[in-house]
Symmetry: C2
Subunit: 670 residues, 2 copies
Amino acid sequence: MAVATQTLEELCINSIRFLAIDAVEKAKSGHPGLPMGAAPMAFVLWNSFLRFNPKNPKWFNRDRFVLSAGHGSMLQYALLYLTGYDSVTIEDIKQFRQWESKTPGHPENFMTAGVEVTTGPLGQGIANGVGLAMAEAHLAAKFNKPDAKIVDHYTYVILGDGCNMEGVSGEACSYAGHLGLGKLIALYDDNHISIDGSTDIAFTEDVSKRFEAYGWHVQHVAEGNTDLEGLAKAIEAAKGVTDKPSFIKVTTTIGYGSPNKANTAGVHGAALGGDEIKLTRDNLGWEYEPFVIPEDALKHWRKAVERGANLEEEWNKVFRDYKGKYSEEAAELERYLSGKLPDGWDKVLPTYTPEDKGLATRKHSETCLNKLGAVLPELIGGSADLTHSNLTELKDSKDFQKGQYQNRNVHFGVREHGMGAICNGIALDQSGLIPYGATFLIFTDYMRAAIRLSALSQAGVIWVMTHDSIGQGEDGPTHQPIETLASLRAIPNLTVIRPADGNETSGAYKVAIEKAKQNDPTLLAFTRQNVPNLAGTSIEGVAKGGYTVVDSEGTPDLILIGTGSELSLCVTAAEKLTAQGKKVRVVSLPSWELFEVQDADYKESVLPKAVTKRVSVEAAASFGWHKYIGTEGDTVSIDRFGASAPGAVALEKFGFTVDNVLAKSKALLG
Amino acid sequence: MAVATQTLEELCINSIRFLAIDAVEKAKSGHPGLPMGAAPMAFVLWNSFLRFNPKNPKWFNRDRFVLSAGHGSMLQYALLYLTGYDSVTIEDIKQFRQWESKTPGHPENFMTAGVEVTTGPLGQGIANGVGLAMAEAHLAAKFNKPDAKIVDHYTYVILGDGCNMEGVSGEACSYAGHLGLGKLIALYDDNHISIDGSTDIAFTEDVSKRFEAYGWHVQHVAEGNTDLEGLAKAIEAAKGVTDKPSFIKVTTTIGYGSPNKANTAGVHGAALGGDEIKLTRDNLGWEYEPFVIPEDALKHWRKAVERGANLEEEWNKVFRDYKGKYSEEAAELERYLSGKLPDGWDKVLPTYTPEDKGLATRKHSETCLNKLGAVLPELIGGSADLTHSNLTELKDSKDFQKGQYQNRNVHFGVREHGMGAICNGIALDQSGLIPYGATFLIFTDYMRAAIRLSALSQAGVIWVMTHDSIGQGEDGPTHQPIETLASLRAIPNLTVIRPADGNETSGAYKVAIEKAKQNDPTLLAFTRQNVPNLAGTSIEGVAKGGYTVVDSEGTPDLILIGTGSELSLCVTAAEKLTAQGKKVRVVSLPSWELFEVQDADYKESVLPKAVTKRVSVEAAASFGWHKYIGTEGDTVSIDRFGASAPGAVALEKFGFTVDNVLAKSKALLG
């Protein structure tokens, strides 16, 4: 094929392909196959449909684009470069997959403007897309007026076979169908190849039929390599269906254009190699040097800059008009977008004294959520089918349902992983919403990949986890967290807080809300069972992660360190030891992460190095506690699986009693 | 309704209902709704189809029954009691959900004979069922002869709405459809209620259509409360379809029989209460005291004992005949079932010297797997679409596919969680198979719930995890484990091993195989990148979890503790420090769990308390390491997310260098 035969469209499409081929070749690492096959659909979408402004990647009313098949990252980097984003230059593309480059192995929203969410772990992106579409639906229902549609954009996702095999995508897409999210449009790159070879070896289901079963509008573009008109018509038709999300199966050839490697797993995740690249250049009539884009193509692509500026300007006019007519709503939206909290928001958080009735911290959590929900309309979330166990309902709102998107109580169904990825999507919409997702603490295991991604991708989600120990009781070891707190504390950038009582629950929410606005997630662990309100606990104390709640005269002989429901055991044990003439300090350590970032002096003031007799008390694994108890300390902990029994029985049988704290303390004191 | 009008069948069915009602009432905890609604299908299945021997719950050729909706555990306990298992007496039922009872909150295979797998975390049971059916298919293809079908049984699963919402079930069922597992029959208790209320609020997809899309044979019994004949016909028809798994949607009423609570979430997970129980007794004509089963019903149910004895005896005859004709195969099957390993099996594990070429430990893993696969035909497994990255292919076997079940290379597809639950099912088939499942270490996050269940439910699986650090390289932080090792080490009963080289990889597999036969899982973490073979490493050392590989003369001044790819940094640093006159010991600590169970003298001999200057070196989070480095030690570790770059660059940038080990060592040595 000679270059002369290439249409402008083909030049534009081949620009994507060769940027991917050349970048992967230079890095000797990466996935050229997907960009080569998906280039036509990406061209049609970005050239004819996607509304965005390359010079303002954060323009609020932009369409959201998610490359769920994140290993094809060069597709996205090519699009960002070609359409004129400042975040990805040709030099950046030459640095593909290199240290600190703007073009890491998988799309990372925190590295590259124009990337909405971090993808790569398969299935997450499409589930994030459901969250993005839910955010749009909510904001549109809340802010739009009959004469002013200020929230009006689509979420487009390109996903692959791998995404469709992952359970998380099934969960989220089933829910998207339930919600009838008409502005969610997914393009399925049906290339029949995954890493191990043909999908025939493991994945022969009828994917389209499955999406129909979910309640999606389903189409098929059979000639996805070449049928640009068919692609455009399908997207147009998808936009026309407003009461269902759309699934467009686009049959393509992975590595399209490579004479020997197209339609093989060999082109999925490895460089083509010099010889094959030459053959591919010949085959596609591409006579340009590596990283060189023909002027015609670049000029055409770059029309996106002017188009985008116009789109944003049009929207600005609409918004100015809106602001004139609906100043209050406009001010609220502007606050949302600013990331600011309303003045005095935290004044609603209750405080308690020991005289106040002891309640489960999940009950205190319910109070906080409801008080915060009243002053923070951006709070939106719910539970994975445990609403009345997690106590996460906002009583002054109603259910977020199809056609009722203005409401804030989300029923995720028994879909923890989907919930996690959806919450990440809502947060990464960057429109100021604060999503929360709830289940039993143990079931963070089902959604761990999404929780980790919230921490990595700076998604300001609040994870509300109840039934946080063997105190959970009768449900038994399948439902009782043991190692769960440790496994979550180990995740970088995730703040885990396990409050001891009412004051500490308020403190935990204060931190969580502030962190959410700073784009950091927080995980809160609450008890099922009642706990007393303690003297000395405070909102301010929680903010420091660890603090002294009971102190001795002079240097203590012993420090008891407790969290959550076990802090009260420490306090009672300390009283008894003090009565016996011992000098005992009790430290509450609701959040290791918050404590670790305090300055050295503060940490030393709470846990003086000289005091080596220390006992930690937490109804969970001892794993990690040696950092605080040192080589001479001891733990009251549980390093085996739990057991089915009433919660109080389980706690006692496993040694979470004042007597056991006293026994371990006395053994240390000698 | 008067009792006189009850048929024998109704009496039998109501026996289940009232055992559930009364047990939950006594415990004031539990889920009566499912047993009340699913009692008819359970009766039909257990009375007319299920082939089992109550007096020998481990009879090899029994049909497997899984209650995937494990919260309805009283259904299963009622069935075990009524059909005459010794494991559940009426006294046990009265102890429902109490400390150390045989009737815990959710079915636990390790507590109650007759329970095949541990359920409760939703979706796991049906996915375990896929594994059980795969085990049957494999053993049948391997051992059956045209004149002797010694492996010939079904796997039946009852699952609910919650199971169907979970992604793990979707993954496993898609794969079951691909494999055409004709002897897997799932009964879907379609009761339209989950904890939060009607499934209308979150789950309105067409489940049957989805299963059709997966390639299952799908039926519907519309009157599941009463249509016993329809239920029987459907199960009969399902058995008749031999090339597809069967899905029978059975529409039922949760809490059937309760005048005020049937068909409400109120009966899902709480006791009915005395008044409602009285009304339910009246409504169903049940005139018996709590925990009393009418003689006629019990007598009918208990026919299962004689039926079961006959079934097993018939099979014994077939097997005796088989043994006569096919002594070799019979001996092999008997070895499988004995849990024994063939003599000298571990002699195939290779050893290495420092002169041998350094390879990635994943490459050593491939060698071990293949050598073991040749002597252990019970080894069966594969990867979640990363076969040629995980290097898990058994080269002398072929792909396990529909109609090719005798093969041992399983292609799970991009379905980590499904793979995990399937491997658990294969192990819990208790037929001696050793399943292994592989992916990148980071993606244990996707399958953590299944890994935890392997540890809890004593499933002897080998989890083969490669690309175990930031040495993974270019894929970046979404693919680079940081906190992953810590989060896995924290799981009770799971042995995690991170070998340093060829010898340690052999040692890791020796432990893993032995543990699998003892019904304990092991997780192996392997490098992507090459590592040298070190002097002093050994198979025996790995078995102890930690051991000295380089020692000083006399008491060391400093101990360097390394694992996996970082052990070689320790060895090189020690050489340099020794040359500078320091006394340095290097300890390899491939498995914390194995080290912890050594006696105190041994542990002291490796890590003497008196030596407080210690540096751990592991390309992972420091979380948990303070147990070994103490208060005066230091770590070479990474407590932030990784970054996309070539692996060697990432390792260097994050400080995993000999120089950094030396710098931290010298800082401690002063």
